[in-house]
């Protein structure tokens, strides 16, 4: 098993952000993580890779218990992530960003070897022309690809993608979807948070749905779309409206 998340809970003051979340992720799988805004998706990512320490539960990565380990330990064992709001190292060049990803990733490469890996990854993501530019000067779509490049350069086993499609136009989305499938075919397991439903339905082997910190559904994309619990989480309960119209209480 690539990743086992067991009954993970996380509380911030009065807010129970995660309530006993449990799921598994098999090697080579693309698992989509969806849910309304504020459901706790990014918190779940941060708990998986060690930015937050879970209050309860365990994180098992490739058979090894990573619960409470700092994020660089997860990175060294082969877990990489991208951010919803891109976080490039602005003053460094595109190439240096990706070299940094390779240097501190799973293989802990020397700068020289990292440069070779970085060039390959940049080529794959179509950023070869921008290598010497400062990362801060890229446009949004390029920055998203740079984030992905930095993650890939670490040669991870598992890639956590936080809304890589957000803010892209339709043609950029389809380009990115192709890249994601290519990454999976290269043998990397993917856990992705996504709001662009069509795309996430298309690429995911399986989906899990988080609402208010709780896992409310799990299944193949076709099963999820017809699941009344999921529809209710996203759109509210249709019967509530009927009751309101009838003058009753919701």
């Amino acid at each position: 098993m690539m990743l086992e998340v067991k009954a993970v809970g996380k509380r911030f003051g009065g807010l129970q952000a995660l309530k006993g979340v449990t799921f598994m992720l098999a090697e080579g799988e693309i698992l989509g993580l969806i849910g309304p805004n504020g459901a706790g998706k990014t918190t779940l990512f941060n708990t998986i890779n060690g930015v937050f320490r879970p209050d309860t539960g365990r994180i098992i990565f490739r058979g090894e218990d990573l619960t409470g380990q700092p994020p660089w330990e997860a990175a060294k064992r082969g877990m990489a992530r991208t951010y919803q709001v891109v976080r490039p190292l602005n003053e460094l060049s595109v190439l240096e960003n990706v070299i940094a990803g390779a240097c501190f990733g799973r293989h802990a490469l020397s700068v020289r070897k990292a440069a070779v890996v970085a060039a390959e990854v940049l080529e794959m993501l179509g950023l070869s022309k921008q290598t010497c530019q400062p990362a801060g000067s890229l446009n949004v779509a390029e920055k998203k690809r740079l984030e992905l490049a930095r993650g890939l350069a670490a040669r991870p086993y598992l890639l956590l993608l936080d809304e890589v499609l957000a803010g892209l136009n339709p043609s950029e989305i389809s380009g990115m979807v192709d890249i994601i499938l290519k990454i999976r075919d290269s043998g990397i397991t993917i856990l992705m948070i996504e709001h662009v439903m069509q795309a996430v339905m298309k690429v995911s082997d399986r989906l899990i749905v988080l609402d208010d910190g709780e896992l409310i559904a799990e299944g193949r994309p076709s099963e999820i779309t017809n699941n009344p619990v999921v529809v209710r989480a996203y759109l509210g309960d249709p019967r509530d409206a009927e009751r309101l119209m009838a003058g009753g209480r919701a």
């Binding site: 240096e96 240097c103 501190f104 990733g105 930095r150 670490a154």
Partner: protein, 322 residues
């Protein structure tokens, strides 16, 4: 990224060594005294740059390591009769160790909180040393004139101190270049740009920051020992001057933070300006005010400093300047 066999890598080190050699060959005391101060500031600014320019932590208390290391080295020479090179080395090691311990506490802070804590550390060190009897309390310590005999008299001792200062500063510049072009340095740059992202990328940030802090504290300790040996005495007022910390910041920012050559250019330019102002009847009491104004102008208009400005205007220089 530069490799050790590229010319740009060695340029700043070569400048320092050539400069030192030229003054040595000239053999004039006045020229030596002037160069001593300049080169000392190049060394101090280069060491500050490791923390400020590479790691992105603004320290207002860099001079505390000059003071503490200097005091320690001076104590070893005055009381334990150690030789100058050994005492200077010990001063550096003590500074680095103190930075390692301090780092456990202050490196958890970021941004303005870190900057404020470093001011506190400087003032605390000054008060401590002022009341620490083995270091002579508020009156400090002085060297017995006979100490100079082992170096062949006071004149020769001063030239020896100068040579050591050149060597130490050249080493500081070399270490700065090595860090900048290494995997470790890339980790520091990642911390400067986005510490949380660096952590998630796999940089062991607490360790990297501590090593950077220790490296940046080592050189001021060595330099402090050399400086106070040259003066022949040390006292709290000279050792922990907050305004020197601020002037070092101005030098690094002026030359270009995060570049190897920047602190060198910045220190020489700032000292030149300061020398002019101190002798000019109009500005003689205003040099710190002018330093403040210069810092403000740099931050507003040339945040990349002299080196960044040159690189921007002359793309051909990019390969050489780093």
């Amino acid at each position: 990224m530069k490799r050790w066999y590229q010319a740009g890598f060695w340029l700043p080190v070569a400048i320092m060594l050539a400069w030192g050699a030229a003054v040595w060959a000239g053999g004039e005391d006045a020229a030596r005294e002037k160069a001593f101060t300049l080169i000392m500031f190049v060394g101090l600014a280069s060491s500050l740059n490791i923390l400020l320019g590479y790691t992105g932590y603004v320290s207002f208390g860099h001079i505390v390591f000059f003071g503490l290391g200097g005091y320690m080295g001076f104590y070893l020479m005055a009381v334990c009769a150690w030789s100058l090179p050994l005492a200077a080395l010990a001063g550096g090691v003590v500074s680095a160790l103190i930075a390692g311990l301090l780092g456990l506490a202050v490196l958890r802070l970021r941004g303005a909180y870190f900057a404020l804590a470093t001011i506190g550390v400087n003032e605390a060190a000054r008060s401590f040393v002022s009341n620490f009897e083995p270091f002579g309390g508020s009156t400090g310590m002085s060297l017995n004139f006979s100490v100079y005999q082992q170096y062949g008299g006071a004149g020769k001792a001063l030239w020896l101190t100068f040579a050591l200062m050149v060597a130490v500063t050249a080493s500081a510049v070399l270490v700065s270049a090595m860090i900048k072009n290494s995997r470790f340095g890339l980790g520091l740059l990642a911390i400067r740009e986005d510490e949380d992202a660096a952590m998630v990328m796999g940089v062991r940030t607490p360790r990297a920051k501590t090593i950077a802090y220790m490296a940046s504290a080592f050189f001021p300790g060595v330099i402090g020992t050399l400086y106070f040996f040259k003066n022949g005495n040390v006292e709290p007022g000279d050792a922990f001057q907050l305004h020197m910390s601020i002037e070092l910041l101005v030098m690094v920012m002026l030359g270009g933070q995060g570049t190897v050559l920047g602190p060198l250019l910045g220190a020489v330019t700032y000292q030149g300006m300061r020398g002019y102002m101190l002798t000019s009847p109009l500005f003689k009491d205003l040099h710190l005010a002018v330093a403040g104004a210069v810092l403000l102008l740099i931050v507003l208009f040339v945040p990349a400093g002299l080196v960044g400005w040159l690189r921007g205007y002359f793309p051909k220089l990019r390969r050489a300047l780093e």
